[in-house]
C-alpha cells in the first residue's frame, strides 16, 4: 500500500522536475521539453492505474498554484488557456500507454515505445487539438496545423520513453510495475 502511494507521488514529482530541464529547440524554433516524456513514463513504468493517478496528482498541484508546467506555468489559469485539452489528455494518455504495456507481450522497450506513440501522441492530440480549437475558435484542421509542429519532437520522446523503460527494466527488474 505504502509502496503504491510513494510510487505515485514520486512519479508526480518526476513529471515536475522533467519540466525544469531546459528545452531543446528544434529547427524552426519549436521547443521540445521533457515534461510529456514524464507523462509517458508514468504509464509505461507504473502501469495504467498508478500512472494516471500520478499524472492527476501532478495536475492537482498545478491547479493549486505550483508553477510546475514547462516554462513555470501553473495555477487554474492554465486550464482556461489553449492547452487545456492537452492537460485533460495527460492522465488519459498515461492510462492508455500503461494499459497497452500491461496487455501486450511484445518486448518491453518496443511495447513502451509503441504505447507512448498511441497514448502520448494519439490520445493526447485527440483531446488536445479539439481543446485548442475550442479556446481559439478555430476548426480542428486549423488547430492541427499548430499542434503538428510538435509532432517530430513528440516522436523523439516516444523513442526515448521506450529506451528509458527498457533500461529501467534491466537495472531494476522489479520496478516495472506495468509488467509486474
Amino acid at each position: 500500500m505504502e509502496r503504491n502511494l510513494t510510487h505515485i507521488a514520486l512519479f508526480a514529482a518526476l513529471i515536475a522536475i522533467l519540466g525544469l530541464v531546459p528545452p531543446i529547440t528544434l529547427a524552426g524554433g519549436v521547443p521540445i521539453t521533457a515534461q510529456s516524456l514524464g507523462i509517458m513514463l508514468c504509464g509505461t513504468v507504473l502501469g495504467a492505474k498508478r500512472g494516471a493517478l500520478a499524472v492527476l496528482l501532478f495536475l492537482a498541484l498545478v491547479a493549486a498554484g505550483l508553477p510546475l508546467l514547462t516554462g513555470g506555468r501553473g495555477g487554474i489559469g492554465v486550464f482556461a488557456g489553449p492547452s487545456v485539452g492537452f492537460l485533460i489528455g495527460f492522465p488519459i494518455a498515461a492510462f492508455v500507454a500503461g494499459w497497452i504495456v500491461e496487455r501486450t507481450t511484445l518486448p518491453l522497450g518496443l511495447a513502451a515505445g509503441a504505447a507512448s506513440i498511441i497514448g502520448g501522441i494519439g490520445v493526447l492530440y485527440l483531446l488536445g487539438i479539439p481543446g485548442m480549437a475550442f479556446v481559439l475558435d478555430k476548426t480542428i484542421g486549423e488547430a492541427s496545423l499548430i499542434a503538428i509542429a510538435f509532432l517530430p519532437g513528440d516522436l523523439v520522446k516516444c523513442v526515448l520513453a521506450g529506451f528509458v523503460t527498457q533500461s529501467i527494466a534491466r537495472m531494476r527488474p522489479g520496478s516495472i510495475l506495468s509488467r509486474a
Binding site: A13, P82, V135
Partner: protein, 198 residues
C-alpha cells in the same frame, strides 16, 4: 518551494478559496455567452480593475503569468487579419485573455494550502476510492520530493559534465527515473516503519 501566490497581500487573500473558485466558474461561463468585443472588453476591464489597487509588483506578477499566451494571441491575430475577420479575432483574444487573467487572479490571491484544502474537499465523495488521509499524504510527499529530485537531477547533470564536455541532454533520463523509483521504495519503507498511512 515557490508558489504562484502573490507575496503582495491584498484583501482578496482573505476571501474563502471556495467562494473565489465558484465565482470564477460562473464568470468563465458568462464569458462564453458574451458575443461582442465590447461586452468582453467590459469584462476584461473589470478583471483589470481588480488588479489595479494592489500596486506595481502585483501587476508585474500578473503580467508574467499571462506571458505564455502571447504566441497564441499573435497566431490568432495574424490569422483573423488574414481572413479579414477582425471582429471574430478580437472576440477570441479578449475572451481568452480575460478567462486566463481572472483564473490567475484567484491563484495569485489564494494560498497553496487553502487551495489544497478545497481539492481535498472536492475529492470527499471519492473517499472510498481515495482515502482523504492518503491524498493529503500524497500532496505532502510530492511537495517534499520535488526539491530533492531536482537536486539529484542537477548532481547527475554535473557528474556527466565532469566527465564529458557536452550537455547531458537525454542521458539524465534513466538515472533521474531510477532516482525516483529508489526514493519511492525508501519512502515506502520509512512510512511503513512508522505505522503506515492510515
Amino acid at each position: 518551494m515557490l508558489t504562484l501566490t502573490c507575496p503582495v497581500k491584498t484583501p482578496l487573500h482573505h476571501l474563502p478559496a471556495g467562494a473565489k473558485l465558484a465565482t470564477l466558474a460562473v464568470f468563465t461561463l458568462v464569458l462564453f455567452w458574451l458575443p461582442s468585443p465590447l461586452s468582453l472588453s467590459v469584462a476584461l476591464a473589470a478583471v483589470i480593475a481588480l488588479h489595479l489597487p494592489w500596486g506595481g509588483l502585483f501587476l508585474t506578477h500578473a503580467a508574467r503569468m499571462l506571458r505564455p499566451l502571447w504566441p497564441f494571441v499573435l497566431v490568432v491575430a495574424a490569422w483573423h487579419l488574414w481572413v479579414g475577420d477582425a471582429r471574430g479575432g478580437a472576440v477570441v483574444i479578449l475572451r481568452m485573455i480575460t478567462a486566463v487573467a481572472a483564473a490567475n487572479l484567484v491563484t495569485m490571491t489564494t494560498r497553496l494550502s487553502d487551495m489544497l484544502t478545497v481539492i481535498e474537499r472536492l475529492a470527499q465523495p471519492l473517499a472510498r476510492l481515495i482515502p482523504p488521509r492518503r491524498l493529503a499524504m500524497a500532496f505532502a510527499l510530492v511537495i517534499r520530493f520535488i526539491p530533492q529530485l531536482s537536486d539529484r537531477l542537477s548532481q547527475i547533470a554535473e557528474a556527466f559534465r565532469a566527465r564529458a564536455h557536452r550537455r547531458p541532454g537525454w542521458r539524465v533520463l534513466v538515472p533521474a527515473t531510477l532516482a525516483a523509483l529508489d526514493d519511492a521504495d525508501h519512502a515506502a519503507e520509512a512510512l511503513r516503519s512508522r505505522g503506515g498511512t492510515d
